[in-house]
């Protein structure tokens, strides 16, 4: 269905090619998972498959790419559009009309389809994505998951043979992600269409992926083949290239390295349960150790942030937060989780004074934060926004940090402050980029810069909105390790996140919001053990907690394992150093030791 020969592409403003010498083929009906670090050319490949590169995006195109018998640089895009459907990550940024039916009709109208036929096809397409009856709805009234399904319907309406999805779940909450993946799984299993999926939530889709295509950071083909091979034999190779890994496979591999002979390189949840059960002694060992799983260490610290009966609504808007109360102690690592629209970002912005909370609701060290000036507050609480670009105020990386320190004395830093800037740049791995324009940095570098520019003022509290959004594995690990270090040094950290795995691994305290109410405040382990509560918050358990529950059901015992370390210590292996849980560095070093 797809054949690429020595495919390469270079954007005009870039020195190095985004893709180079990539050759592969894909069978009809195959579902391919595309992996790669950020900047490895995944999205470029997606645009090539539709002929948008090189026909509409300018640059230097070499090699040959044939999709469904059409050459992508010779046939018109409008013809290719009927063979290849493209879905992007941000549903808002791919719509061009206002209502569901107009959006689905858009492509059909472009192809001069007869109006009566369009009506029929709209119904078919909406039914195939599980949204019958959504015709008349306005797009801006839909949830993220529904919007992404409409985007899918609008390309399915053209009857494409190949579907290309570029990080389709990136902007969705756990529930939206689950519904989208369930739909993609159904599409994949029918084998009617060839699916090319760029995604990094691997545990959720691994069950229906036929093969893996991985790109190296410099845009070359790194791996093409079976998922089992990818996530077991070649896991190190892929890990070094910065791609995300499926947690279950990483756990299984870790246990194998530690001497457990788990058979069959399992990938899906069911396979993993079967394989664990087939490993002599493993399940009893996990079950025996489980109740002794280390209690969360929440020391008796000073109460730093206290929220009392906080309700908040936007002008002319509905109530976003309803009677939220909780306390954060100095030196705690907290995560705010919840569905889209549950009020997570609003709560975070009220904690840091980005938005002004009502009087008498948010206290910092027993003082109402409303009585603090903006300057006094920013000296105490740092807030890192979701999009790093929003926080940029100068033209150089060094300037960003200097700006934070210089206060009112425009630009001039003392020797001491210069030293602080230099040390911070070093710590965040940005020292070589000191004179670069912030806009030219990579996603990961921009994110680290925005944290660095905040932190250089050494506030005791740091609030971060979706810190790992849009980051590849290596970048995310680097950032989380940095946050962990800061937390160890005594800073109080609050992150807003959709990533349950991250929340489970790093947070001591989970603040779970559901429709503006605080549904839970406590250790992640306790939250994820309560299946009903997780469902009520429209969240999902992280893959390893899900596995633990499935194993418990299999074994008929109580099992509450949450992180990889829980499993390792329960199985009697030495735990990894906590900070490199995500990075898998310990796995590698353990593997290299006899």
């Amino acid at each position: 269905m797809i054949t690429a020969r020595h495919l390469g592409f270079r954007y005009p403003e870039r020195r190095l090619p985004a893709l180079s010498d990539v050759s592969f083929s894909v069978r009809a009906g195959e579902s391919v998972l595309v992996l790669g670090a950020s900047g490895s050319g995944k999205s470029t490949l997606a645009l090539c498959l539709d002929g948008l590169i090189p026909q509409l995006v300018e640059g230097e195109f070499v090699g040959e790419l044939t999709v469904a018998g059409l050459s992508t640089n010779a046939q018109p895009v409008s013809l290719l559009a009927q063979k290849v459907g493209l879905v992007f990550q941000d549903p808002e940024a791919q719509f061009c009309t206002l209502s569901v039916q107009d959006e689905v009709a858009f492509g059909l109208e472009n192809l001069l389809t007869a109006p009566e036929l369009i009506e029929v096809k709209i119904d078919e397409a909406l039914a195939s994505v599980g949204l019958p009856g959504f015709r008349e709805r306005r797009l801006d009234t839909l949830s993220g998951g529904e919007q992404q399904r409409v985007a899918l319907a609008s390309v399915l309406a053209l009857g494409p043979e190949v579907l290309v999805l570029d990080e389709p779940s990136a902007n969705l909450d756990p529930a939206g992600t689950r519904e989208l993946f369930a739909l993609l799984g159904r599409l994949a299993r029918t084998r009617v269409r060839t699916l090319i999926v760029i995604e990094h939530k691997l545990d959720e889709i691994i069950a229906w992926v036929d093969s893996v295509l991985a790109l190296s950071p410099d845009g070359r083909l790194l791996f093409r083949g079976d998922p089992r091979e990818a996530f077991y034999e070649r896991a190190e190779l892929l890990g070094e290239a910065g791609v995300w890994r499926p947690e279950r496979a990483a756990l299984t591999r870790g246990l194998c390295v530690r001497g457990w002979a788990i058979p069959g390189a399992p990938l899906s949840l069911a396979e993993t349960v079967t394989a664990f059960a087939a490993t002599p002694g493993l399940l009893p060992r996990l079950a025996a150790a489980s109740p002794r799983a280390a209690p969360p260490q929440s020391g008796p610290g000073e109460v730093l942030l206290a929220v009392r009966d906080l309700s908040f609504s936007y002008p002319r808007g509905r109530e976003v937060l309803k009677g939220v109360s909780f306390e954060l102690k100095a030196g705690e690592f907290a995560a705010i989780v919840g569905a889209n629209g549950a009020g997570k970002s609003t709560l975070a912005s009220l904690l840091s004074g980005v938005r002004r909370p009502p009087r008498g609701t948010v206290y910092l060290r027993r003082g109402d934060i409303r009585s603090l000036s903006d300057a006094a507050l920013t000296a105490q609480v740092g807030h890192v926004f979701q999009n790093p670009e929003h926080q940029l105020v100068t033209d150089t990386v060094h300037g960003e940090l200097a700006y934070s320190l210089a206060q009112s004395k425009r630009g001039m830093l003392t020797v001491e402050q210069e030293a602080t800037v230099a040390a911070t740049l070093q710590r965040f791995g940005l020292e070589r980029l000191a004179e670069a324009n912030p806009y030219t940095l990579s996603q990961g570098q921009k994110r680290r810069l925005s944290v660095a520019a905040m932190l250089v003022r050494a506030q005791p509290v740091l609030v971060l909105d979706e810190p790992t959004f849009g980051q590849d594995y290596v970048q995310a690990v680097k950032l989380m390790d940095l946050l962990s270090d800061l937390w160890r040094e005594g800073k109080t950290i609050v992150v807003v996140t959709h990533d349950m795995n991250l929340a489970a691994q790093y947070a001591q305290k989970l603040l779970v919001l559901g429709e503006g109410e605080l549904l839970f405040c406590g250790p992640p382990r306790e939250f994820f053990a309560e299946e009903e509560l997780v469902a009520r918050a429209a969240l999902c358990r992280p893959p390893l907690a899900e596995l633990s529950a499935a194993l418990a059901a299999e074994q008929g015992t109580d099992l509450r394992l949450l992180t990889m370390n829980d499993y390792f210590s329960a199985a009697g292996c030495c735990a990894q150093d906590e900070r490199s849980q995500l990075s898998g560095r310990a796995v590698r070093s353990a593997a290299s030791q006899p």
């Binding site: 948008l52 992007f88 941000d90 472009n110 109006p115």
Partner: protein, 260 residues
């Protein structure tokens, strides 16, 4: 239930709006535009289902600006030099012709605003775009470009607010005087532009990926048509406009003219 005005063809409604605007530019007394303003309220209520309160809610804040226009034209009018004084406001001489001109202008602005509001409130954006393509022969590329721009406005506004908050957290406001407007514009516009360009090119790609521009023509699921009732509506608007102007002229209140 849709109102009478909502059911009218958007291009015809736009033409009707133009008729009213033209009529308003031809009169130079305060009574005719005031009458038109009244008609806007009545028509909005009776034909568009928009309560006068809804119109007032938008018009009242707008009136502050109009008051400025009124004062500027009443107090600093060149007619003040020649005509006899009506009264003095301190050193400023206020005359009858200046007051009349200022009132006329103010009512005209308010009437423009009220009619435009009625138009906007009774017209669906996609219908208007389709109608412009079907009735006014606007090229569909331009039409969809406009629609995408319209879609993006609220997103852009949200982003602007986020950037403002983000900069406040960086401590930007503490150290800037009131005169640093230029710096602020630059600081806001770079991330806003970067974001918009990225979004716009993304939408463009998403549209081309669905065969946008494949042919010189497109088919349309819905076609905007002009019914006889739409023509009647336009004729009615024309007739009422002419009648109001004529009536006020006969009563000696109105004043037609081209130029001041």
């Amino acid at each position: 239930m849709t109102s009478y005005l909502q059911r009218r063809n958007p291009a015809i409604k736009l033409a009707a709006l133009l008729v009213v605007f033209l009529a308003l530019t031809l009169v130079f007394d305060p009574y005719t535009p005031a009458a038109f303003l009244l008609i806007a309220f009545v028509a909005g209520w009776a034909l568009g289902g928009i309560s006068p309160c809804q119109i007032l809610r938008v018009l009242l804040p707008f009136s502050v600006a109009v008051l400025g226009i009124f004062l500027a034209n009443a107090l600093f009018n060149r007619l003040n030099g020649a005509a006899p004084a009506l009264f003095f406001l301190g050193p400023v001489k206020v005359t009858a012709p200046a007051l009349t001109a200022a009132a006329s202008l103010s009512f005209r602005v308010l009437a423009f605003a009220a009619f435009s509001l009625v138009f906007v409130k009774t017209t669906d954006a996609s219908d208007l775009i389709l109608s412009l393509v079907h009735q006014c022969r606007l090229h569909y590329r331009l039409a969809y470009g406009t629609l995408v721009g319209y879609r993006m406005l609220p997103l852009l506004q949200g982003e602007y607010e986020t950037i403002r908050a983000a900069h406040r957290v960086r401590g930007v406001h503490e150290r800037e005087g009131r005169l640093a407007v230029w710096g602020r514009v630059r600081r806001y516009s770079v991330p806003l532009l970067a974001g918009s360009v990225r979004k716009a090119s993304r939408v463009a790609l998403a549209m081309d990926a669905r065969a946008f521009g494949a042919f010189a023509q497109r088919s349309y699921r819905r076609r905007m048509v002009v019914h006889a009732s739409d023509w009647c509506f336009l004729a009615g608007v024309l007739a009422v406009s002419v009648a109001v102007i004529a009536l006020l002229n006969v009563l000696g209140l109105g004043r037609l003219g081209l130029g001041v």
